[in-house]
């Protein structure tokens, strides 16, 4: 407890030190940050603590790096920046993390409390600005409240449906003196996420599932966030039920398993979209029926009963009516489902044995339209991703992406077998995410092979971070699928705007090899299909950061494609 006698015996320290001590207590090992006047006290004391600080080159990248770190490790990522422009530069990072439910805490400097509201130098109302793109945010008005608020911020970020939390720190608060007290568990009047799946609902769901003839699991990022991939895989295999994942769910189920249908949705596989359309019981695990997944809503799984498991009640029955909702932690619910399977013996066995016809149909779809491309004498981007996938096996790879065609090809042609090995901006679709996110993951796992599958447009949005990866010798491999276009937008222009390629040509890109060299990284280039494998091998073997510029076919398209707003069975196939 916070006794007064206790305080007398303790020594007062400044807010910045209190913050650093709380970070230490929270187990924070890594901070991505950028200094400035409002947080100078923090940087003054930073070297006294064990926490490692990575100086990025742009605040947006600090937030993406914290986000990549969080996705790869499951821990709360941390970024710290100064007031005003430092704070506003974090907004895209916050919105990216918010859309994908990623736990991070972002600290922003703020002008001294007496100046707030006065349009002081480098003042920005970041609490107001970030309100709609954070799970919660705080302005710390008194140093006395600092410790409690920081602990609350970490708790909120990591619990329930995770998300970014921003803590705004006025200069007089982090320079003001107070005591560091004993850690206490934060308590809230109204915030208390429900982790326990309702047993009765789970039983009903399992009875429905046992009777299904054409069941399908539709798996989203929630399963990854809840660290429940193993349980999900176990359940699917025991009941012999095929699995399709969303973009965010990649890695939650091993794609080399015969039950894997790959990704569904706008650029999903033929078999996944057909299976959704013809399923009779669809179980959504930690997915939110996003419009890029469902296409036209009334045609999505129109004949299926829908069971929806999610930690967030607002996700349930938001876009689609659900027959059996189950609110709870994915891990808890999946464990209970597995218990039901074990307890129901014969019923479960019958269920598992009863899907032959369904699986045969899926196998037929698989053969009918495979993900494919034709490799001629110009390098095809899909070929590059397939090669990356082959050559990276055995190196425990983590793949990040930029946004656009590169992202979709990475999702389609890389074979994901492990959760938390895939970092992509799904909800917001943030170009410039991939390199800083890869950097964050590489900090967490220096020994793993971390690859950013990039586009020539996107990489230019945060290429300044090459300086950071070189400075800290983070051996990130950036593989640019260089098509000379803002390819995904060009694809839409080709298909829906009569090839009116307005503002999508990237004909003034830098020489990426020289750019890499200018930063002190290794730069490589592949121009022919024969060069791809040796160049990738060279890149993966290099102990430091590498940029590989792969000159790929300029007007290759991502297929299958469901035109926006159409039924997902309505795929353009070539």
């Amino acid at each position: 407890m916070y006794g007064d006698e206790n305080e007398v015996r303790m020594k007062k320290i400044i807010g910045a030190q209190i913050l650093l001590e709380v970070l230490q207590e929270q187990g924070v090992e890594v901070i991505f940050g950028y200094p400035g006047g409002a947080v100078i006290n923090f940087y003054d004391h930073l070297p006294d603590y064990s926490c490692r600080h990575f100086l990025v080159r742009h605040e947006q990248a600090a937030v993406h790096a914290a986000d990549g770190y969080a996705r790869a490790t499951g821990k709360v990522g941390v970024a710290l920046v100064t007031s005003g422009p430092g704070a506003t530069n974090t907004v895209t990072g916050l919105a990216t993390a918010y859309m994908d439910s990623i736990p991070i805490v972002v600290f922003t400097g703020q002008v001294p409390t007496p100046l707030i509201g006065n349009d002081a130098f480098q003042e920005a109302d970041i609490v107001g600005i970030s309100r709609p793109c954070t799970k919660h945010n705080f302005l710390v008005k008194r140093v006395e409240d600092l410790e409690r608020i920081v602990n609350e911020a970490f708790h909120i970020a990591g619990s329930g449906r995770p998300g970014p939390v921003l803590v705004d720190l006025p200069k007089d608060v982090i320079a003001g003196k107070y005591f560091k007290k004993k850690a206490v568990q934060p308590s809230f009047k109204g915030y208390n996420p429900n982790y326990n799946g309702h047993a009765g609902q789970i039983q009903r769901a399992m009875q429905m599932l046992f009777k299904a003839r054409r069941p399908l699991f539709y798996v989203g990022g929630g399963v990854v966030l809840a660290d429940a991939a193993a349980q999900l895989t176990d359940l699917a295999c025991r009941l012999n039920i095929p699995v399709t994942t969303t973009l965010m769910g990649l890695g939650a189920f091993p794609e080399d398993d015969y039950l894997s249908l790959g990704m569904l949705g706008m650029h999903g596989t033929y078999r996944a979209n057909m299976a959704v359309t013809e399923s009779d019981v669809l179980v959504a695990f930690g997915a939110r029926f996003d419009d890029r997944v469902t296409g036209r809503l009334d045609k999505f799984a129109a004949d299926a009963k829908i069971i929806h498991v999610d930690i967030d009640p607002t996700s349930i029955s938001k876009n689609i009516d659900v027959d059996i909702p189950i609110v709870g932690d994915l891990l808890d619910v999946l464990q209970k489902m597995l218990e039901e399977v074990k307890a129901s013996g014969e019923k479960a066995e019958l269920c598992a044995a009863g899907h032959d016809e369904w699986l045969k149909k899926i196998a037929y779809w698989r053969e009918l339209h495979k993900l494919s491309y034709e490799q001629d004498d110009i390098i095809k981007p899909q070929f590059v991703v397939e090669k990356i996938s082959q050559l990276a096996q055995g190196h425990d790879p983590i793949i990040s992406t930029e946004v656009g065609q590169n992202q979709m090809w990475a999702a389609q042609f890389f074979t994901f077998t492990k959760p938390r090995s895939w970092l992509t901006s799904g909800g917001l679709g943030t170009m410039g995410y991939g390199l800083p996110a890869a950097m964050g993951a590489q900090v967490a796992f220096p020994e793993r092979l971390v690859i950013d599958i990039a586009g020539d447009g996107s990489i230019q949005m945060n290429s300044q971070e090459l300086a950071t990866v070189v400075q800290y010798n983070l051996p990130v491999k950036v593989i640019i699928l260089n098509n000379g276009y803002l390819g995904m937008v060009r694809q839409w222009q080709e298909l829906f705007f009569d090839k009116h390629y307005s503002s999508t040509q990237m004909n003034h890109a830098p020489d990426f090899v020289k750019l890499a060299e200018a930063y002190g990284a290794l730069g490589l280039r592949a121009r022919t299909p024969e060069e791809v494998e040796p160049i990738l091998k060279q890149a993966f073997a290099h102990p430091g950061p590498v940029v590989v510029d792969v000159v790929v076919a300029a007007e290759e398209n991502v297929y299958p494609m469901v035109p926006a707003g159409e039924a997902i069975s309505n795929m353009l196939l070539v």
Partner: protein, 161 residues
Amino acid sequence: MKHIISVLVENEFGVLSRIASLFSGRGFNIESLTVAETDDSTVSSMTIVTQGADHIIEQITKQLNKLINVIKVVELTESVQMAREMVLLKFAVNSGAKRLELLHLVEVYQGRVLELGSRSLIVELTGERTKIDAALEVLAPFGIKEMSRTGMVALARDSVK
């Protein structure tokens, strides 16, 4: 359909704007909103009147519940609620006859006269929204010079449960 949502929130700076920006950001509409401290000074009570189909109202209550500072959300259906609004009206009245007629009507609506000047009159009316609407219609011909109307406040009744 009109819905009344009663929300208990932590009485903290910025909470009102969190609620307001939730409504604007998600395209929900607010017809009226009242806020006041409760007997516990760390807790405020809000009454929000909104419109929408049932699934929208369900989303609104879920989204409100998701806010960290929200303690409790209750949707008050008409059968279980007591709801009141108040309006203050200023009339310009010159003729004695008109004044008598007006005073009579105010009485019919159980209103109160707050100020009786030689040329003007201020009246307070309290009641359900429909009653206030009806009164305003009847009183309009007297020439309402100024008007100030509260949003709705509401409580759940104990007797119906």
